[in-house]
Amino acid sequence: MKPTYKQVIANWGNFPVVEKEIKSEDSTKKIKEYVRNHHDIIARGNGRCYGDAALSENIFSTKRLNKFISFDRLNGIIECESGILLSDVLEVIVPQGYFLFVTPGTKFVTIGGAIASDVHGKNHHAEGCFSEYVMEFSLLNEEGDVLPCSRNQNSEKFWSTIGGMGLTGIILSAKFKLKNIESSYIRQESIKAENLDEIFKLFEESESWTYNVAWIDCLQTDKNLGRSIMMRGEHAFKHELPKKLQGNPLKLKMGSSPSIPFYFPNFVLNNLTVKIFNLLYYFRQSKKEVKSFVHYEQFFYPLDIVNDWNKIYGKSGFIQYQMVIPKESGKEGMKKILETIAKSGNGSFLAVLKLFGKNNPDAYNSFPFEGYTLALDFKVNSKLKKLVSQLDSIVEEFGGRIYLTKDSMSKSSLTNYLQNVQNPKFISMQQKRIDNN
């Protein structure tokens, strides 16, 4: 039996699927050797980016860089290797009264992936991207040297690596700040909006809330265009909680709650089922406004409850199309986008709308800037390329851009915003595609 490191592999969207070399190591010495002896390398965390970002000829998996390094329990500062998942971090910190400042919609991403994509959460307008709270990290560069990077040390590398999609090297470990919480529950309000006007008004009214997000039913047209549910939330203080939750306010698991958000239907997706799903989702809540306390798992990670939900899109896979459009023209842009989707008949199962706040100019490779962002899942089929290109044109017209960590087929003029990442060693299939376009 001879070692062969080739594996059939795809990221979360199961598109594209490739057969490439994957290797994993936990000793710095061996990782250095690996980098010195290979070319066309990209780091891969948990493969939760959707498209071709974490794929290359040689993939270095960080799955063995899975150790914690230190935890300053007094000041809420934690340090760990880059392959640690957010879910691992939460397990350690929540019982101690801490939370992540910024978390994406799944807790199964690695710290390395969170930095390389500079992920955002439902609180971008209030608290920015993941990088705001990163104090330092160590980066293995193209020479095989380990560079300590922070705002003061190798700061150029620090900023180009943030949102740099792995193109500057392999992040080995990182240290970041945590947020204090009194309970693991979120005080949530969910409010129905009949159409786009209403949901945009709600976003503007909700800017003082820490967390805001809206789910849109994208198959509605005309006066119902933009029909959605807004969910806003705050970390609950212990004293606010209902009596029965106060006994164990920092509970880690949500236990058997009857209000598990929704089970995604397990049958073939087509326009009709998407339509039914969205109707059910919207009408599940009969009142205009519902106030409740929900566990953070349910609030932040509703999709994580269903394992491998990405498989419901079948063998051909799916893409997530996420763009940001400047705030001033946000409503107009979204309107055009939703109209185009409704007309195409290519329904999206999942559409999430968020408001981004001001960007941090130092983190020049981060995706978010002030404006509205919409994320949509589409099953890959023969009509999709055309739809993507139509949507790309609208995004371009409004001066927007596409989120690289979700991209696998967008126009290069919308995805080539990275700076200072050209590197002879580290390159992804995504970057090659963008460069060749």
Binding site: M1, S27, F68
Partner: protein, 241 residues
Amino acid sequence: MIVLGSNSEIAQAFVEKALSAGERFSQIYLLTSNRETTEKFAKHLEVKFVQQSQIIEMDLLKPINYAVLEGLTSDLLFCATGYLGLGTAEGLYDNKNTERIIDINFAKLVPVLNFFAEKMERQRSGTMIVLSSVAGERGRQSNFIYGSAKAGLTAYLSGLRNYLFNKKVHVLTIKPGFMATKMTEGLPLNPKLTASPKQAATGIYKAYKTKKDVAYILPMWRIIMLVIKNIPEFIFKKLKL
């Protein structure tokens, strides 16, 4: 807890499993020939479980300093030392390879296990969990040096179990089949027959708690090995296994 071969992913997963299940140890002794990765593990245990541990360097291929080991006492020993080495095709007539395989998996390991067995015998309590291998159940042409060393280990463990039985010390032999670890990375293993370290740890922990004597990690392996063991020798010798 005393851990031999603490650099092993299965050993580390087992320690984490036990701690996650709520067990605490006054000290975890991490014996290892690789300080770098074990040091990382020690810090990890401190952060994740607020669990103390101490690293002790031990290389089975060098003289063992028993004076250092004298102070280590515990009710639980987990041994994951092992060395796959080169198989028959590349390594059969490479004596260095052969010696390493026999030393690490058997010859140099048994005295160390004996040393800790004696402590537990005196204590009249304890459990020794030792990883052997399904490869030890029948010599196959592809890797019978490794297999024979593990066969020796399995026989030793079964004798030790017998000897320690009325001295209140339990011996648990684990026979992992294919494992997805650094040791086997890149080998074309059947995913249905391959367990992750985490899966292995869960299985081993359960076997420990239910006082099993011999445990396989994936149940399928018990059946596979039953078949392999029962093929008559005159047929077996013609097979390419």
